[in-house]
């Protein structure tokens, strides 16, 4: 979905299908788990990375209340997260909805400083670099949607 959008295929049937799937799987209180919203008796918990990815994928869609709830969830969660994968995807998701808080610069700096102590991880490095960009190449859609 992110790749098709990046190619300007926002109206492609598979993108529209993916949008419907994501709306179907958004949690009542905002955010996304991995798939289901409920298992037997309980509603599942949202996660920062999956919520960030879903928000990034939905960039450009109408800003319905579920989006606002999901942004609120991430805004509340991210300040305490130092893990590169979740922090980066969370910020990419917030940036897609122009909701990245100014404090995020210091969160990224803290995360990067801590990361130096760990094993090298190219995926995490790439995600942190993307999260640090003012305009994320994953979510910025080029002009001239080709309409599938």
């Amino acid at each position: 979905m992110l790749a098709l959008r990046r190619c300007g295929q926002t109206s492609h049937p598979r993108v529209r299908e993916a949008v419907r799937l994501l709306w179907d799987r958004v949690l009542p209180g905002g955010g996304w788990n991995y798939g289901n919203t409920r298992v037997l008796a309980n509603t599942l918990r949202p996660f920062p990375a999956t919520t960030g990815i879903a928000l990034a994928a939905l960039a450009g869609e109408p800003q319905v209340p579920q989006i606002d709830k999901s942004i609120a969830y991430l805004t509340n969660e991210l300040p305490r997260i130092l893990s590169p994968f979740s922090l980066a995807w969370g910020l990419i998701g917030l940036a897609a909805w122009l909701s990245r808080p100014p404090e995020s610069e210091s969160w990224l700096a803290q995360c990067a400083a801590r990361k130096v102590q760990h094993q090298p991880n190219p995926l995490e490095d790439a995600l942190l670099l993307m999260a640090d960009l003012k305009s994320c190449p994953l979510t910025s859609v080029p002009d001239g949607d080709t309409h599938g």
Partner: protein
Amino acid sequence: MDDTGTAHATCAGGWKLSRREMLGVGGGLLVGGGIAAAFRQWTRHERGLRADVFIGKASDYHVDLAGLIGEGLKTLGITRRVIRGKRILLKPNLVETAVGQSHINTHPSVVVAAARALRRLDAREVIVAEGQGHRRDSQLVLDESGMGQALDGAKITFVDLNHDELVEVRNTGRRTSLESLYLPQTLLSADWVVSIPKLKTHHWVGVTCAMKNLFGVMPGVVYGWPKNVLHWEGIDKAIMDINATVKPSFAIVDGIVGMEGDGPIMGSPKPVGCVIMGANMTAVDATAVRVMGLHPYGLDYLTGASGWLGPIHEHNITQRGELIEPLKTRFEVLDVPHLADVIEG
């Protein structure tokens, strides 16, 4: 044999079946795993398999857990001679995290204590490894569970099994349709694999303990999150396949505070105050289920493993340390039809 030359099997419930009657129901036994399990329960016959299980009391996570685990190892015959020079992989249950829900995962104190006890027996290396079932971000789970800090403090390396190098091996269980399993190289290179689960109910299979905990060695990059391929194959069958193929060496169950109700992630804390240990996973799990006040013969993966991967009948398990009865604490289980046998037996 009776005086007519007919062999009888006397069942625990006092029933007697002649050989002819047994043959008559033979087809049913083949068809119905439940009937076969009931038969094994009545006859106590588990192909001669026996195992020892140790239960130790631990009122909370501040007691000398390394000492307790050391005592359990000694009682079960796991001496320095067995452990010296071995590379040991500890597999805790790290599923996901939520604020104030520390009972979801194996407590870090139990994992560190196990490492200390095994280091005292001259293990060459002790590492901790897990492939989280519900999250791709291992670092976040390590941070939020407190496991990362505890492992750093004890200088224990953590390996993310979801993203390890993979080796395809033959599925020796074949209860699922999978002919082979992809396992992490780190797991296969360990001399000893120790399952360190949390004592919890499970909303699909009834109880998750030493055997189910090994779902976490299956790499997410192959089986998805939450190991969807294995769920579709059937959780009970997958549990048996993984255990038959991985052949774990030992289990140390964190039963100090367990989880009841909608486990393995949404349930409530359940203090029990014990650690359960043993070299046979099925015997450890059957004992754990009894401590939870539930019925081992109500769990499909335990009845399936009975007489194959190990014993589950009390008669075939030698209890060491504390007795089950004084520690027995009834765990609430979701009131759903597929778990009725776990509650009622």
